[in-house]
């Protein structure tokens, strides 16, 4: 498995955001600087339309840096990769992670390998937006595990303004492709889901931004006389466990990995395998069933909510 573990991270969880500016606004501010100050390009479908990508790009109509692509899910990202070879910072926005089945071809076969194989920089950020809980198989799924198979592609999942800031700085200082998994439900986050307790019974590691309400989960568990710590896995590839997560794990009775994408053959299983070599604490995975979702309420992809995690935790811990 091509996962690099950086166990000695100095990064802290529970980062504070003194400005009370949410993740959406932080992303938009970065996009504004990208266009106006860095003269970068933003490629995508229907960018300057309806919601301006859920309010994460600035409403600057006709800005020369906005590139409205033909509605072609392979050629479109391919054009963005081509532009990235010219030395300009390029952002490609994939509005739904379901499009990754198509979008990833030029990333996998060129952008990710360009520096190693062709000695060519491909300075591109793929902003891939998940929306599980929405309608249908394409718009609602999280397909992060697909991207994780691509060699030499950094994969991150920022859920807070602070985490976004770290990733944006990384992109500006490293002229290589980076895949950013975002989640629409995280855009209003001020601090994200991270919670750290001194001696947690349960440690939760969340992969890929999701919709969990950590305060609610903590209060539900408190009623069961259980304490928990919750961490977001920002650096998915190379795999970088937060230092406090590893410290908490040594005190815990059980570890749960949350992954909104498919469980079988997926990222959570890979992470669990790596983690199992570092700890003897039992590890369980809460992820999606490997099936496409539909439109009727009972057929939609299910959000990983506090209630869902709580019920699963109780079930697993009851069964030992």
């Amino acid at each position: 498995m091509n996962l690099q573990i950086l166990k000695h991270s100095k990064k802290k969880v529970n980062r504070m955001n003194g400005n009370n500016i949410d993740l959406r606004t932080h992303i938009k501010n970065s996009m504004t600087a990208h266009l106006v100050e860095n003269h970068g390009l933003i490629f995508g479908h229907n960018l300057t339309d309806v919601g301006w990508v859920a309010g994460t790009i600035p409403q600057i109509p006709d800005h020369v840096g906005y590139v409205e692509l033909p509605i072609s899910d392979i050629a479109g990202v391919g054009l963005a990769v081509g532009a990235s070879l010219a030395g300009k910072p390029v952002i490609f926005i994939s509005r739904y992670q379901g499009y990754l089945w198509f979008n990833l071809a030029p990333i996998a076969t060129y952008a990710a390998i360009a520096d190693k194989v062709f000695e060519q920089e491909s300075w591109i950020m793929v902003r891939s937006i998940a929306d599980d809980g929405a309608f249908g198989p394409i718009a609602s799924g999280t397909y992060l595990s697909l991207a994780a198979q691509i060699p030499n592609l950094d994969i991150v999942s920022p859920t807070t303004p602070e985490e976004w800031g770290e990733i944006w700085s990384h992109f500006l200082h490293n002229r290589k492709p980076i895949f950013v998994s975002e989640h629409r439900s995280s855009y209003s986050n001020l601090q994200g889901a991270a919670l750290n307790s001194d001696k947690p019974d349960i440690v939760i590691l969340s992969i890929g931004a999701n919709a969990i309400n950590s305060e609610k989960l903590k209060s539900l568990l408190f009623e069961e006389k259980l304490d928990c710590s919750i961490f977001n896995l920002l650096w998915i590839k190379p795999l970088e466990f937060p230092l406090q997560f590893l410290e908490s794990l040594s005190e815990a009775k059980h570890c749960f990995i949350l992954d909104p994408s498919f469980k079988d053959y997926g990222l959570a299983q890979s992470v669990a395998q790596v983690l199992s070599e570092l700890t003897s604490v039992p590890i369980s995975i809460i992820a999606s069933k490997q099936e496409f979702s539909g439109y009727a309420k009972e057929l939609r992809s299910s959000l990983i909510t506090a209630e869902r995690v709580f019920n699963e935790l109780k079930r697993v811990m009851k069964n030992g």
Binding site: L41, V67, L69, P70, S72, I74, A75, G76, G78, L79, A80, V81, G82, A83, S84, L85, A86, G87, K88, V90, A105, P106, T109, Y110, I113, K116, V117, F118, E119, Q120
Partner: protein, 274 residues
């Protein structure tokens, strides 16, 4: 229209490519090459013409898997290409990653090809969009059928990008004739997208004439009928060769320069050592 001095350059480049490719063919026939080799014997005059036409232009090359001729015509190092084909990680032009398929050179601004047929189209178009410079994008008559090819060409038309698309049309995808795969003409479809297109032979005169017709610096698509002596991969002979471009163009040049000069050109072509 091609000038006499340019015609001589085209012929010289074509001789050079043919000589190199023949040396690779000999190695292939002796089974001294371990990797798949994509030879372009018979098609030399396309790359030779384009390199001569764009000799002093700032241009990027996005070729595909059959690109020895472009690498050589635009000034790539033949020793490094030979080393690459022989699997030499230290001396190969693509450090052993590219093989015959993915050759590249920063010196001549030639980008590598991963093996995904048609990727050079969206990459080259995107590169020209960002750089505002001309790219030469080489494809085959099968590549144009890739589902991502036409949207990228349409994007070039929409933004009037400085791109020269060259379709090397030998009428086959491996051994499947075009007529069995599609009922449309590449040049007509591309023209409908808004790109000026030409259906021509691999005659340097026709290639120069078409390139001269580019207006406003925008995109142009040359569908160039050509023939290849060897099959898709390796040394097998293709079979039915209908014309001999080398003989035809030699006759053209021979009639326009001094016999002694032509003799010197021929002697030079026989002097290459690989």
């Amino acid at each position: 229209m091609i000038q006499d001095a340019e015609a001589i350059k085209v012929l010289r480049r074509a001789y050079f490519i043919e000589s190199f490719e023949s040396s690779v063919l000999a190695l292939e026939e002796q089974e001294l090459i371990e990797i798949p080799v994509y030879l372009g014997l018979g098609q030399e005059f396309i790359a030779a013409s384009l390199a001569t036409y764009y000799e002093n232009a700032q241009i990027a090359i996005f070729a595909q898997h059959r690109a020895h001729s472009y690498y050589l015509a635009f000034g790539g190092n033949p020793g490094a290409l030979k080393a690459e084909i022989l699997g030499d990680i230290q001396g190969g032009c693509a450090r052993g990653f590219g093989g015959s398929v993915g050759i590249y050179s920063k010196e001549i601004n030639m980008f590598g090809h991963s093996g995904l047929m048609g990727e050079q189209i969206y990459l080259g178009v995107g590169w020209s969009f960002a750089s505002k410079l001309r790219s030469l994008i080489v494809l085959g008559d099968a590549t144009i059928e890739e589902d991502y090819a036409l949207p990228a060409i349409g994007f070039a038309a929409k933004h009037n990008l400085p791109i020269t698309f060259v379709c090397e049309d030998n009428g086959y995808a491996v051994l499947t004739p075009t007529s069995k795969r599609r009922s449309w003409s590449a040049s007509q479809v591309v023209n409908a997208y808004g790109v000026k297109s030409f259906d021509i032979d691999d005659d340097p005169n026709q290639i120069f004439k078409a390139l001269d017709a580019i207006e406003n610096g925008g995109p142009v698509f040359l569908n160039i009928r050509t023939q290849r002596k060897n099959r898709h991969v390796g040394a097998h002979l293709e079979g039915d060769i209908k014309w001999d471009r080398k003989k035809l163009f030699e006759a053209y040049v021979c009639n326009r320069i001094e016999p002694a000069d032509f003799k010197a050109l021929k002697e030079e072509s026989e002097s290459y050592e690989w």
